[in-house]
Each structure stands twice: as structure tokens, then as C-alpha cells.
């Protein structure tokens, strides 16, 4: 039987893994050996899509044609995007499922839903897996943040379908991480999984015994992650070079974000990070200290700990009851995060498995369980948010409490308020607040009924949450014992018809053809170096000798010609040639900007 793959569809990076002789293994890109696939998608002028590393690099020059962190937009509506989202992505002003507008750079644009964008990433992972395994891959386990609500889970499953994958199971990311550590087989223990990803934070408390992993409680914040730490560094960088946030151009913001990520990595090892910023106003060197970074992110760390406190309380445990702490997500490499978690739980967290890979590996383990190859293990998961319906006066009435083990069922009887009503309308919501308007709308549906006097009909509605945390609804007329079909209209999701239509209109995915892809990637790189060269020539003309300028222009012009052709090797060679021609110039720009940076600091600072 064909194998089931495990996929971590992450905010920043995605991975695919599979069980091979009883061990989970990451499947790298057969061409490059890369294990992580950046979750980036970019629309090219020819109308094809670029996915992964090349798309992420292209995003710097073409932010309007690229989407990063699409996971943030899964299963949400226009009312859930904020100002910082709008800074990065343009949205079609329409109700229902959110539509992202991508400009192709040639005057055209395409509107895509988040599941469609994600499906492009999944297709690339599927291609990787098929190349590595040498067989067709059609079935997958995909991980989601534990805190994902029903709409977000549905959207993830839809993305899988659009990528031609039968999604057998959605697994919560922290739970997958625990499976990857294989703690479940060996002992009886309470485990806390602290998962700080690019865009989301999850914490789960699990009880493990004799091969059975039971999630006791889960909590988190779908709007808190490594990106927020980056944003704080961006602010520090802006401050350091004296840029006003409101007037910083989109392109400069992208450059700052790039630099912030580099600075964050450096600060995980060193006390100070110096980054070069090729801004539109010139090249600057900015400095961020670890102390400043930690002070600027203290509130973010505290927010994660508050969620840990709540999760422990929901699980009926104390921090001291926790036997192991598992770190997941690239942002847990940040020293202050690690230190705070260790202090909070009073023990050193486990970090034996790469925090970027642990979730995908766990997904592969769950895939193994589903394929029947690991029968000694079982995962009992919970629903992350309470589920209920809107009742009289806009009140949210809970039917299933958060942290209830799934599958779970709840039942409610409805009747009519007016004579001869032909249907009852039910509004399903998810959340922890008292009023319906403060909770997330999942769906509305109508139940047809036989007209009768008010209060006489008895319609019994059953809500069933399956092992994926996904809701289905059925209804029965109690008096006639007749089953009613229900048409559920998801508030932010895709309808069955929309998915069918999307499946028919297949995308032109650049990755499909390997040679084509290498060409496109080389072009993206050429474009970005040409752009950088032009900008530098313009800004630092005084640092350039006549001979140098001529050499650089010649190399640039040759590269431009090559880009118009279709030989990717020639493009690569000419990129290298242009790089060589420009090296002394780049060095001089660097020296000059360090001088400028030093000149703007006080004497005291230099002395230190």
C-alpha cells in the first residue's frame, strides 16, 4: 500500500516526512537537499507560480506579487486581518472566504484564497516526496496549531484536497512534537509542549502512559509568534537608523524585515548584532544589542507564559508536575524564550530534535499509526475552543467545552417561536466569550421543518466533532423521526462547489518542470542583483571609478541579455561575473557606511 506522508504546513517553513523502517525521516528536496521549504508563493509575470526559497527571495523586490505567512489567513474573514497584514498583502474587499490579490508585475493580477495559496506549497511538498520515494503520494497527515478553530482546520483540509492529497488526519502540532520524541512508549509522564512558531503560539499539556498520549489541555494565541519578535527588531532597527515607521517605503520595510531575521539569529549566539541595510536612501549599518531586544520583547514572552499558566490550570496540574518540556518552532531558539520557559517550569527543556523539524517528524509517526504499522500507540486529542450556538438575545450557549477529548458529540433540541415557520436557523460559533458576537462564527444553517404552531416542532440537532477536530451537523425531527439534510454555509470557508471549481481550474505551477524552475529561480536572483547594483551605482556614484563603472555596466548588460534567454547556467555564470566585478565597490560602500554610522555616534559610545 502506498505510504502516508506527514506534513508540517508551517507559517514560515513547511516540511514533509515519512516513516522509514520504523523511524520518521524528513524528505529533502532531491535537487538541492534542502529540508525546509519556505512557505512563500510568488506570482510571475507569465502567470506561473514560484514556491519556496526563490519565492521568498522574490518577495523582497515584488512584495505585491508574493505571499509570505499565508497560514495567518487560513479560515479567516476580512474582519480578522489587521493593519500590519494589510501592509504586507492586498485583500479583495469581499465577504466570506478571504481573497488575497497577487500582482504579476506585468499589469495583471490574480485573486487567490488562502487554501489555494497553501495548496501550491503542499503540491511542492508532494512533488518532493514523490521524487524521494519514487511512488505516487496521495495521502497525508497534516499538522495544525492546536489552537486552530474549525474554520482554520477546514481550510487546511481544503488546501490538501486542492493539492490532490487525501488528508487522513489533522494533528495538533504540539501533540505531533510529543510523538516525535517518542516519549509515549517509554514511561508515564506529564509533558508540556511549548511551540513558538513564526506566526502562532501553542502550549499543550499531555499525559503519557503505556503508548497512549492524552492531551489534557491546550492553549495558545494564533496571533503571537516569531514574526512579532522580528517586528520588534524592525522597530529597533528603524530607531537606530532614524527612520520613521509611517513614512518607510514598502520596499524598505521588506529589507528591514529581512535584516531583522538575520539580527534575531545572530542574537541567539552573540550579544550584539550588526546588520547592513541597503535602504532606498543609502546603505546603513544598524546595531541591536541582546539586552535591547530582550527588553523590547518582554511583554511577548510574558504573554506566552500567561498561556502556559492557563493551560496548566485547565489540565489541573502545577508547573512542578511537569516531567518534560519540549520546545518546538524556530523562535524557541531565542535565548530569552528558552530561559523564561526553563525558569517557569523549573527544568531544562528538551531540545534533542531540531525544533524546526520535530512537528513534521511527529506527523510522520501519526501517519505510521494510521497506516497500521504502529499499533501500540494512540493519541487522544482535545478540541481547543468551546463550541456552541447563538441563542435568544445573542448569547453564546456552549455545547462542547474546550479541552473535551475528541471525537465528541453534543445534542440540542430546537423549536419554533412563530406559527407555521418553515425552517429553523442555527448559528454555530466557537470561542470562550459570553456573547455570540465576541466568538468566531463558524457556520449558519437552516433546518427545514413541517409548518406547525409555534413551539410544537421538536428538532434535535447533533454536533459531532471528529478526530480531526472538525464539526459535522445532523438533524432529526423528533416527532416524525425523520432525518433532515442540512446545508452548512461556512462563514469563512469554501463551499463544496467552490472546491470543485478550483480543482478543475488547475494552476500553472512553475515547479512542475524542473528545468523551467531552475530558469525561473536564476532569473529571480539575476533580477535582484541587477536591482541592487543599479541602486548602489545611483546612491554611491562618488565611490565608483570610471573603469569600474564600465566593467559593472558591461557585466550587467550581459546578464540582462542572458535573462531574456532560457539558459539558466549562463545566467548563473553571469550573476557570478557581475558579483566579481562589483566586489571592490561593495567593499567601499560598506567601509563608508561604517564611517557614517560611527560619525553619528557620540565619542563616549565609540570608546566603549
Amino acid at each position: 500500500m502506498a505510504r502516508i506522508v506527514g506534513i508540517d504546513l508551517g507559517t514560515t517553513n513547511s516540511l514533509v516526512a515519512v516513516m522509514r523502517s520504523d523511524r520518521p525521516e524528513i524528505l529533502p528536496d532531491p535537487a538541492t537537499g534542502a529540508r525546509l521549504l519556505p512557505s512563500a508563493v510568488s506570482l510571475l509575470p507569465e502567470g506561473a507560480f514560484l514556491v519556496g526559497d526563490a519565492a521568498r527571495r522574490r518577495a523582497t523586490l515584488h512584495p505585491r506579487g508574493s505571499v509570505l505567512s499565508v497560514k495567518r489567513f487560513m479560515g479567516v474573514g476580512l474582519e480578522h486581518v489587521d493593519a500590519s497584514d494589510r501592509e504586507r498583502v492586498r485583500f479583495a474587499e469581499a465577504a466570506g472566504a478571504l481573497r488575497l490579490v497577487l500582482e504579476d508585475g506585468a499589469g495583471g493580477e490574480q485573486q487567490l484564497t488562502a487554501p489555494e495559496v497553501s495548496s501550491l506549497i503542499l503540491r511542492e511538498l508532494r512533488r518532493r516526496a514523490e521524487a524521494a520515494l519514487g511512488e505516487e503520494v496521495t495521502r497525508a497527515v497534516i499538522t495544525v496549531p492546536a489552537y486552530f478553530n474549525d474554520s482554520q482546520r477546514q481550510a487546511t483540509r481544503d488546501a490538501g484536497r486542492l493539492a490532490g492529497l487525501d488528508v487522513l488526519r489533522l494533528v495538533n502540532e504540539p501533540t505531533a512534537a510529543a510523538l516525535a520524541y517518542g516519549l509515549d512508549k517509554s514511561e508515564e509522564a506529564v509533558v508540556a509542549v511549548f511551540d513558538l512558531g513564526g506566526g502562532t503560539f501553542d502550549v499543550s499539556i499531555l499525559q503519557l502512559r503505556a503508548g497512549l498520549s492524552e492531551v489534557l489541555a491546550t492553549g495558545g494565541d494564533t496571533r503571537l509568534g516569531g514574526d512579532d519578535f522580528d517586528a520588534r527588531i524592525v522597530a529597533l532597527l528603524q530607531e537606530d537608523v532614524g527612520l520613521d515607521h509611517a513614512t518607510t517605503s514598502r520596499e524598505d520595510i521588506a529589507i528591514l524585515h529581512d535584516a531583522a531575521e538575520r539580527a534575531k539569529r545572530t542574537l541567539s549566539e552573540a550579544d550584539t548584532a550588526r546588520v547592513e541595510l541597503s535602504l532606498s536612501a543609502g546603505t546603513r549599518i544598524a546595531t541591536v544589542t541582546r539586552a535591547a531586544f530582550e527588553a523590547a520583547t518582554e511583554d511577548l514572552v510574558e504573554r506566552t507564559l500567561a498561556r502556559c499558566r492557563q493551560a496548566l490550570k485547565d489540565a489541573g496540574k502545577q508547573a512542578a508536575d511537569v516531567d518534560h518540556v519540549i520546545l518546538v518552532g524556530g523562535a524557541t531558539r531565542i535565548p530569552v524564550v528558552r530561559r523564561s520557559v526553563a525558569r517557569f517550569f523549573g527544568k531544562t527543556p528538551l531540545a534533542g530534535i531540531d525544533p524546526d523539524e520535530v512537528v513534521a517528524l511527529g506527523a510522520a509517526v501519526q501517519a505510521g499509526i494510521l497506516s497500521g504499522s504502529s499499533t501500540d500507540m494512540l493519541l487522544l486529542d482535545v478540541v481547543p475552543l468551546s463550541l456552541g450556538i447563538e441563542t435568544m438575545g445573542g448569547v453564546f450557549t456552549r455545547l462542547i467545552d474546550r479541552n473535551t477529548t475528541i471525537p465528541a458529540a453534543a445534542r440540542e433540541q430546537f423549536t419554533t417561536a412563530v406559527d407555521n415557520q418553515t425552517h429553523v436557523e442555527v448559528h454555530v460559533l466557537q470561542g470562550e466569550r459570553e456573547l455570540a458576537r465576541d466568538c468566531r462564527s463558524l457556520a449558519r444553517f437552516r433546518i427545514p421543518i413541517e409548518p406547525a404552531i409555534a413551539g410544537l416542532p421538536r428538532i434535535e440537532v447533533t454536533f459531532l466533532i471528529d478526530a480531526n477536530g472538525i464539526l459535522s451537523v445532523s438533524a432529526r425531527d423528533v416527532r416524525t423521526n425523520r432525518e433532515h439534510s442540512i446545508e452548512v454555509k461556512p462563514s469563512y470557508g469554501l463551499t463544496e462547489d467552490e472546491i470543485e471549481r478550483m480543482l478543475e481550474e488547475s494552476f500553472d505551477l512553475a515547479e512542475e518542470d524542473f528545468a523551467q524552475r531552475q530558469l525561473l529561480e536564476a532569473r529571480v536572483e539575476a533580477e535582484s542583483i541587477l536591482h541592487a547594483t543599479e541602486k548602489a551605482e545611483h546612491l554611491h556614484a562618488q565611490l565608483l571609478t570610471v573603469e569600474e563603472r564600465a566593467a559593472i555596466e558591461r557585466a550587467a548588460s550581459e546578464l540582462r541579455d542572458a535573462v531574456a534567454g532560457s539558459d539558466h547556467n549562463r545566467i548563473r555564470d553571469l550573476i557570478e561575473a557581475l558579483n566579481q566585478a562589483g566586489t571592490p565597490f561593495a567593499q567601499r560602500i560598506m567601509d563608508a557606511s561604517i564611517k557614517t554610522a560611527l560619525a553619528s555616534k557620540s565619542v563616549v559610545e565609540i570608546a566603549r
Partner: protein
């Protein structure tokens, strides 16, 4: 006692997840008897360790993960069965929810009594509520000592709840079961039901009071900050 007919071999038997003759997975109604589906004696005194063991053992057999390659019909049955199992375990594991479930078995519910202050708690509730309204009305300056008093009241409340839960567990442990009935049809049985009702409504009231008290404390902390 209700009986079911096996989906596969038509054997008529007491409700259980698997047929006693052919071991086929059964579609039990979601309102099936929780004690029966877990294979426990029909008595509110539950051996917690045994309950847990039964739950895990059944989870391993019923969970949808085990039916991944089965027919769509079997898969649906497994989801339904696991949902019922989870509900049964969740209800019986906690002494309060188990008490309520048993009260319903006795044909009673808390009903309207639930909204009135339970007589045995009247003086206590009055005292706590007065302190809370004082805190709400007081200006920031005088709040510190009141807040201390309220924190103390909260500790006291937690202790009181624990005492009541212990009393409830004891009541259920010594429950006077009748012959094939949830409760003995004598004065002992009637007294037990009365006491169960009283304890449950007190616990329910204390839970509401606890929530209000915590909210008042959080609000007070907010006002001070």
C-alpha cells in the same frame, strides 16, 4: 434494562460497544447508560483506577485511528462510539458530574431549586456577597484591606468546596441501591436522594460564587493598577 440487536449477527444483548457473540462494532445511541458502556457496575461509587483502565482499554479498540482502513460505515461507527465513550468517561470521572448523572438516573434534577440560595449556605453567601459589593463601591485607597479579606474568603471558599466534594464522594460510595433500581425504595433511599440534591445545588452555587469572587478580585487588581 434496554437491550440492543447486533448489527451483524442479530444477537439481542445488553448494550456494549462490541457484540458479545461476533465482536462487531455496535452503533449505540449517544444517551446509552454510561456505566454499562464502560462495563462498570450500575452504582455511583466508581473505582477511579478501574474507570481509567476501562477507558484507555476501550479507547485503544474504538478510536478512529484504528478504523482508518475500514469501510466508511465502520469509520462513522467508530467516531460515534468514541464520542460516547469520551462523554461517559468525562461524566463519571468527576464526582460532581457523576453525582448529577446519578441524580438524573433517580428521576430527579436540580430544576428551579438551583437558582435559590441553598439554605445551609445562606449566611455564608450573604457575607461574601457583602464583601464583594463593598470592594466594588470602595475607592482605590480603602481597597487593599478589603482585597486581603476577599482573597482570604476565596481560600476559604476553595476549602469549603473541597469539603463538599468529599462529602459527595462519601455519599455516592455508600449509596443505598435498590433491587434493580438506582435507589432503595425506603426512607434511607429517599434521604440519600435529598442529600444528593442538596450537596449538588450547594456545589453549583459555590462554583458560581467562586467565579464572581475571582472576577471581583481581578477587577479590583485592574482598578489598582
Amino acid at each position: 434494562m434496554t437491550r440492543i440487536r447486533c448489527r451483524r449477527c442479530a444477537d439481542v444483548q445488553p448494550p456494549a460497544f462490541f457484540c458479545r457473540s461476533c465482536e462487531a462494532l455496535q452503533l449505540l445511541p449517544q444517551d446509552s447508560d454510561y456505566f454499562a458502556v464502560l462495563g462498570l457496575p450500575s452504582h455511583p461509587a466508581v473505582d477511579e483506577q478501574r474507570l481509567e483502565e476501562r477507558y484507555y482499554a476501550l479507547s485503544r479498540k474504538l478510536h478512529p485511528d484504528r478504523f482508518q482502513t475500514a469501510s466508511a460505515d465502520e469509520q462513522r461507527a467508530s467516531v460515534q462510539a468514541t464520542a460516547l465513550l469520551n462523554a461517559a468517561y468525562r461524566t463519571l470521572r468527576d464526582v460532581e458530574t457523576r453525582g448529577r448523572y446519578w441524580l438524573a438516573r433517580c428521576g430527579e434534577d436540580l430544576g428551579r431549586d438551583n437558582n435559590r440560595v441553598p439554605p445551609r449556605l445562606a449566611a455564608y453567601v450573604f457575607d461574601v456577597q457583602e464583601k464583594m459589593s463593598e470592594l466594588r463601591e470602595s475607592s482605590n485607597g480603602g481597597a487593599a484591606s478589603l482585597r486581603r479579606e476577599l482573597s482570604e474568603a476565596h481560600r476559604d471558599l476553595t476549602e469549603r468546596r473541597n469539603r463538599e466534594r468529599t462529602a459527595l464522594a462519601e455519599l455516592l460510595r455508600g449509596w443505598p441501591a435498590g433491587d434493580g433500581e438506582p435507589t432503595a425504595r425506603d426512607e434511607r433511599g429517599a434521604a440519600a436522594v435529598r442529600e444528593l440534591k442538596a450537596l449538588l445545588s450547594e456545589l453549583s452555587y459555590l462554583r458560581t460564587l467562586d467565579r464572581d469572587l475571582q472576577a471581583a478580585l481581578a477587577e479590583g487588581a485592574g482598578a489598582e493598577a
